[in-house]
Structures are given as structure tokens and as C-alpha cells.
């Protein structure tokens, strides 16, 4: 995972609530056994005017110029400003892979769906929750200020916009993994002895839980 410490990035607004992962990554483009190649189909049905073909190159497709991601002023944005309940619906991590591959490193919103939020943290994408009034105000500022940039400082847990500054919450484990670019599996496996002890104790009390799933 790509480490994340600080970011000074352009912001693009996506002013819709309840953006679901089907919209972020439509299912027809998920028929891949790889982790890459999803960025070009991010928000496919909103970004393009035609119907996409799975596996095909998108560079010649007609763009929907009303969609913020296609507008010149937001090119190369690395921060996506979202509304409430972003990432709801399906657990597909492909949605986050597409977001990351497209170039976003930070999502700002009031609330993210639980599974999506976790998936972001595992992929070097930082979802930041800010108060509704801050998010409202950022939507206004982004609209009014072409080229608006924000500075995100993960070690200090701060977002800065000119003179304004807001703190944000993140759990210390996710913060550590993001800063170091770690996946947490090795950290868990350092506790292999504890997992084995748990299994042994549990097997004594509830042996049927350890019956193999097979030959049913």
C-alpha cells in the first residue's frame, strides 16, 4: 500500500448523497481477477455518455462534461468532496481500487458507509469525516474558488484550507498503517500464538464449531 503522510491537493466536488459502490464501480467492469485497471471505469455511467464495454479502452469515449470529474478546472484533483453516506451498498473493494487508481488519495465527507470506509484505509486512501457545516461550507468554497486546494496532514490529523483548519479523527492503528504503508496482516500474524490458544480453548467448549466444512 502506498504510504500517506501529507497531501496538498486540488478538490473536486461530487454533490450527491448516498453515492453507492454500484455507481462508483459498475458491476460490468468488475469481471477481472486483477486489482488494477478499474480507474478508467470509475463512475462510468456518470462520466461517459455511451455505454462502456468491459475490458475495452476508454480513451475515445464521449465524456459527460457536466460531470465534475470531466471539467477542466478539476483535472488532476486528488481530493474528492462527498456528501453523506458515500460508498453505501455493495462491499466491493473494486470501488476503492478505482478511486485510488484514478488518483484520489483523500475523501472528505460527513459520513462514509462502514465497509467502504474500511476498504479505503486498506488501500492508502484516507476518508476524512468532518462536521456537516464544514462540508457544506467546503462545497460553497470549491464552487466559488477555482483551483481551491486543501492541505491534509495525517500525522497532525488536520485539514487546512487557507486560514481555516479542522481536526479529524482516525484510529491510531489505521493511522500507523497509512503512514508506514503497511498492510496489517503481518501485524495480526505476530499474534499467531494467541489465535492458536483461542482456538484450543474454544474447541474444548464448542467442538462442533471446528467440524470441517466439507462433504455436506
Amino acid at each position: 500500500m502506498q504510504p500517506f503522510t501529507t497531501l496538498d491537493g486540488l478538490v473536486v466536488p461530487l454533490d450527491r448523497r448516498d453515492v453507492d459502490t454500484d455507481a462508483i464501480m459498475p458491476k460490468q467492469f468488475m469481471k477481472s481477477i486483477r486489482r488494477t485497471g478499474f480507474g478508467q471505469n470509475l463512475f462510468d455511467s456518470w462520466r461517459y455518455l455511451d455505454e462502456g464495454v468491459p475490458g475495452a479502452d476508454c480513451s475515445d469515449r464521449p465524456l459527460n462534461l457536466e460531470f465534475p470529474l470531466n471539467q477542466p478546472r478539476y483535472q488532476d484533483a486528488q481530493i474528492l468532496l462527498c456528501r453523506d453516506n458515500f460508498g453505501c451498498g455493495s462491499s466491493r473493494e473494486h470501488a476503492v481500487w478505482a478511486i485510488e487508481e484514478f488518483g484520489f488519495r483523500v475523501l472528505l465527507g460527513t459520513r462514509f458507509a462502514d465497509i467502504f470506509f474500511n476498504n479505503c484505509l486498506k488501500n492508502g486512501v484516507l476518508p476524512i469525516r468532518l462536521a456537516p457545516e464544514v462540508i457544506d461550507s467546503l462545497f460553497v468554497q470549491v464552487e466559488q474558488t477555482p483551483g481551491l486546494r486543501l492541505q491534509v496532514d495525517l500525522p497532525k490529523q488536520q485539514v487546512r484550507c487557507g486560514e481555516q483548519q479542522w481536526g479529524f479523527e482516525i484510529d491510531s492503528h489505521s493511522k500507523h498503517c497509512l503512514i508506514e504503508g503497511l498492510d496489517d496482516i503481518d501485524l495480526t500474524l505476530e499474534r499467531a500464538g494467541m489465535i492458536e490458544r483461542y482456538e484450543q480453548q474454544r474447541q474444548q467448549r464448542t467442538p462442533w464449531l471446528f467440524e470441517p466444512v466439507k462433504g455436506l
Partner: protein, 467 residues
């Protein structure tokens, strides 16, 4: 006296391997269900990093999302889908994971087959790379969807890092009216809570209405918890749970059955247990629901009308307007005037035997309306299909003009050939009415199996209570 605990707390405590910094815990997972769409990258990464699976005998795999529901003997014609389905079979074979392929009689939607095989049991933790894993909470199990990174984490360690959720108890009392099902209850609750109202929470469904529901109906309710934003739905264990489990393939027998029963019955919330939030619902207030929009909380009762965006709070107005534009509906239109192109009876929400029995009872002796281009019945599993055929339900559907298909997720998400064409409108027993969910440009209305069946006969929505 010991502290009164919620069902969630009991499940959490009994699976906590170790408390970690910052309020997280390492939680042991008893069962891992694996599908073909969200797992390949996890298997690939596991192998690439030289990690060994911790406990393959806790894993059950089946291809469900991508499989065709027609002419299976000819294999999968979609090359991209075939690659995923093959990858799952190969990964499972290489690691020794139990896998039910498309030609296996036990194949089906994972959230249908795990319960019917008895793989899902009370007091367990169950995870799967699919958000509708909440379904299994109907058994008093802690069950939730995870992403692909967590699939790898789980394969490697049999554990997940988690933070305890807040608890929300929804107490439903009274009797659901005739023709009103747990799907309507689910849609009614989602309308009340909103699509994100349950975020960060495990929802426990309680009360005498819930106690009177079958396991199938409870599964429908827990399945839809995620549509209110709650990753976990729960129902406490009772005699209905135990009766459902008895004799199922993976359920313990003999002395172990007796021992297991005693243990399972602990998985209820204690009297006096405290929940972070409570909500009370009267069953009598629930009527057949139909969604009109592009989020599961955009619904109204069958006797209602499509809402006017100006009647809602400003924050929602724009999403209402956008939803009505996408759905091509006018404010003020009667729900019963919405004409349909397709009908889909299926999905992990509503493709169990009880759902098919109810739908069949509505269509029996009638014909699908001429305006309906396609009416599909897709059983949730091979076992549901066989049972339905033994009861003659397939004949009822086919005689009425429905297509009787092989099991899979099918048109719920349109990853296989079963999908809506742009502009087509569908009455669907599935769980999501998102833009493009059932096919790019398709328009989905979520309803119960009875309401979908009645709509197929009428060609538009009708109140099944009058059928």
C-alpha cells in the same frame, strides 16, 4: 448478578482473541464464505506473499454472482465471467477449500446455501466478501460483509481487526397483515431509518412480530439491514431457530446436538440489557411497500403516490429530483399506475422456498400480463429449486408464463446475462434499486415476492391484499 448483555455483546465477547490498542479487537471468525467476484485478488495476494491459509476447513465457496441461469450444460459463454468462475474453482482446489461449482446440486447463492446446509449456526461469526452477509444474523450469528483486503486477512489469520459496533434494537409488535411480509417490514424500517440511519450499528430485531416470523422471513429482514447502513442484523435464538437447524447437513448430531442447543440458546439479549438506540414499530402500520427511487429508503406504500420533491427537506430535494428523473416518474403519480417491463423473483433477499411458495400462490392459475417482456423466477439454490419442483411450484410459474431458471444472483445485480436493458422497468424482489443496479439504465422497484407476483399478472403494481 452478572451484567445484562446484548446479543451483540455476547457474540463479540465470545470471539475476542485479544483487545488491541485504540478500542479495536482481534475477532475470531468461525465461517468464511467465498464467492468468485471479490476473492480472486485476495487469493493472488496470499500466494504472492507466501502466506498460508490459516484454516481452510472453515471456508465454503461457491460461484453465485456471475453464473448463467440458463443452459448451464453449455458452460459460461461470457469469457470474463468464465475467468472468475474458473479462478475460484482453481484457488479452492489448490488450497483444499470446499467449493460448489455450477454443476453441483448444492450450488446457489452463498447466503441461501450456508443456512440451508446448516453451515450457518447460532453463536458463530461469519464473514464474506459480500455486504448481504448480514442475512446470517437471523440465526443469532455475528455476520457481516468485508472487502477483498479483509478476505485475505481472514484467509491468512482466521481473524479480523474490528471495532465494536453500537447497538440499535428495533422492537416490532403486533401482527403483520395478510399479504404483508418481512420484506415490507424491512422496506418500512429502511424508510423510517434512512439509507444511512443504521451506519455504525448492529441492528437487533426483537418483539413478538419477529418471534412469529419464520427463519426465511428473518433472513430477509437481516439481509436488508445493510440497506439501512447497518453492516449487521441480528435476531435472538429461539425454538424457531433450533427447529430450522435440526437435521441439516452441517449441524451437529447426537450428544453434540444436545450440547450445541444449550449453547445456542445463550445467544439472546439478556433482560435489561442496554442498547445505544431503540426504535419501536407497530406491525399493523406496515403495508406492502414499493420503492419509487434509486435508494432503498425511497419508498411508499402501495396505496401511495410518487412524492413531490418540494415536500421534502432541502437536503433531500435534489436526490429526490434526480431519482425521479432517472426513474422517469412524475410526482403525484399513483404507485399502482406504474407499468412494468420485467419482473424478477430471486436474490439472497427473497429466493428461498417460502418466498417461492408465496409467489406461486399468487400466480396460480393466472397468466403474466401481455405487456411484461420477461418474468423470471430464479431459485436461491439448487436445493430450493429441487424442493420447489417437488412441490410443483415450477409448473405453476411456467404455466403462468414465468421463466424457471437455475440458481444464482442473476438479475439482482445483473452480472450475468440476466439484466435490464436501458429504460426497462422492473418489479424486483431483490435488495437494491440503485441506478444501473440491474443493468445500465434499468429502473428497479423493490417489492416483496407476493407483490412482484401480483405485478407480473397485472402488468403494473397492485395491492396483493386485493388479489
Amino acid at each position: 448478578m452478572a451484567e445484562a448483555k446484548t446479543l451483540f455483546q455476547k457474540l463479540w465477547d465470545s470471539h475476542r482473541v485479544v483487545d488491541l490498542d485504540d478500542g479495536e479487537a482481534l475477532i475470531y471468525i468461525d465461517r468464511h464464505l467465498v464467492n468468485e467476484v471479490t476473492s480472486p485478488q485476495a487469493f493472488e495476494s496470499l500466494a504472492r506473499r507466501g502466506r498460508k491459509p490459516w484454516r481452510v476447513d472453515a471456508v465454503l465457496a461457491a460461484a453465485d454472482h456471475n453464473v448463467p441461469t440458463l443452459m448451464r450444460s453449455q458452460g459460461i459463454s461470457d469469457e470474463l465471467a468464465l475467468v472468475q468462475v474458473r479462478a475460484l474453482a482453481n484457488n479452492c482446489q489448490a488450497l483444499g477449500i470446499t467449493h460448489y461449482g455450477m454443476d453441483d446440486a448444492r450450488q446457489g447463492i452463498l447466503h441461501v446455501i450456508a443456512p440451508e446446509l446448516g453451515v450457518t449456526q447460532p453463536g458463530m461469526t461469519i464473514a464474506c466478501g459480500d455486504s448481504h452477509t448480514s442475512t446470517h444474523g437471523a440465526f443469532g450469528a455475528l455476520a457481516f460483509g468485508i472487502g477483498t483486503s479483509d478476505i485475505e486477512h481472514l484467509l491468512a489469520s482466521q481473524c479480523l481487526r474490528m471495532r465494536p459496533l453500537k447497538t440499535l434494537r428495533i422492537t416490532v409488535s403486533g401482527t403483520l397483515g395478510k399479504g404483508v411480509s418481512s420484506k415490507d417490514l424491512a422496506l418500512g424500517i429502511i424508510a423510517r431509518l434512512g439509507a444511512s440511519g443504521g451506519a455504525g450499528h448492529a441492528i437487533e430485531f426483537a418483539g413478538d412480530t419477529i418471534e412469529s416470523l419464520s427463519m426465511e422471513a428473518r433472513m430477509t429482514l437481516c439481509n436488508m439491514s445493510i440497506e439501512a447502513g447497518a453492516r449487521i442484523g441480528l435476531v435472538g435464538v429461539d425454538q424457531t431457530t433450533i427447529d430450522y437447524l435440526k437435521g441439516r447437513a452441517a449441524v451437529p448430531s447426537g450428544d453434540a446436538w444436545e450440547q450445541a442447543q444449550v449453547y445456542w440458546r445463550e445467544f439472546v439479549s439478556d433482560e435489561g440489557a442496554r442498547f445505544d438506540r431503540e426504535l419501536a414499530i407497530s406491525a399493523e402500520s406496515i403495508q406492502p411497500f414499493v420503492t419509487w427511487g434509486t435508494s432503498p429508503d425511497m419508498s411508499c406504500t402501495i396505496d401511495g403516490r410518487v412524492p413531490h420533491p418540494e415536500d421534502v427537506e432541502p437536503l433531500r430535494r435534489e436526490s429526490y429530483t434526480r431519482a425521479l428523473y432517472y426513474m422517469d416518474l412524475c410526482p403525484g403519480m399513483a404507485i399502482s399506475d406504474i407499468r412494468l417491463d420485467k419482473v424478477f423473483i430471486g436474490s439472497c433477499t427473497n429466493a428461498r422456498i417460502e418466498d417461492l411458495r408465496i409467489a406461486a400462490s399468487v400466480v396460480k392459475g393466472q397468466r403474466v400480463a401481455p405487456g411484461i417482456r420477461q418474468a423470471l423466477v430464479v431459485p436461491g439454490s439448487g436445493m430450493v429449486k429441487a424442493q420447489a419442483e417437488a412441490e410443483g411450484l415450477d409448473r405453476i410459474f411456467v404455466d403462468a408464463g414465468f421463466e424457471w431458471r437455475d440458481p444464482g444472483c442473476s438479475m439482482c445485480l445483473g452480472m450475468n446475462e440476466d439484466r435490464l436493458q436501458p429504460g426497462e422497468r422492473c418489479a424486483s424482489t431483490s435488495n437494491r434499486n440503485f441506478e444501473g443496479r440491474q443493468g445500465a439504465g434499468g429502473r428497479s422497484h423493490l417489492v416483496s415476492p407476493a407483490m412482484a407476483a401480483a405485478a407480473a399478472i397485472a402488468g403494473h403494481f397492485v395491492d396483493v391484499r386485493n388479489c
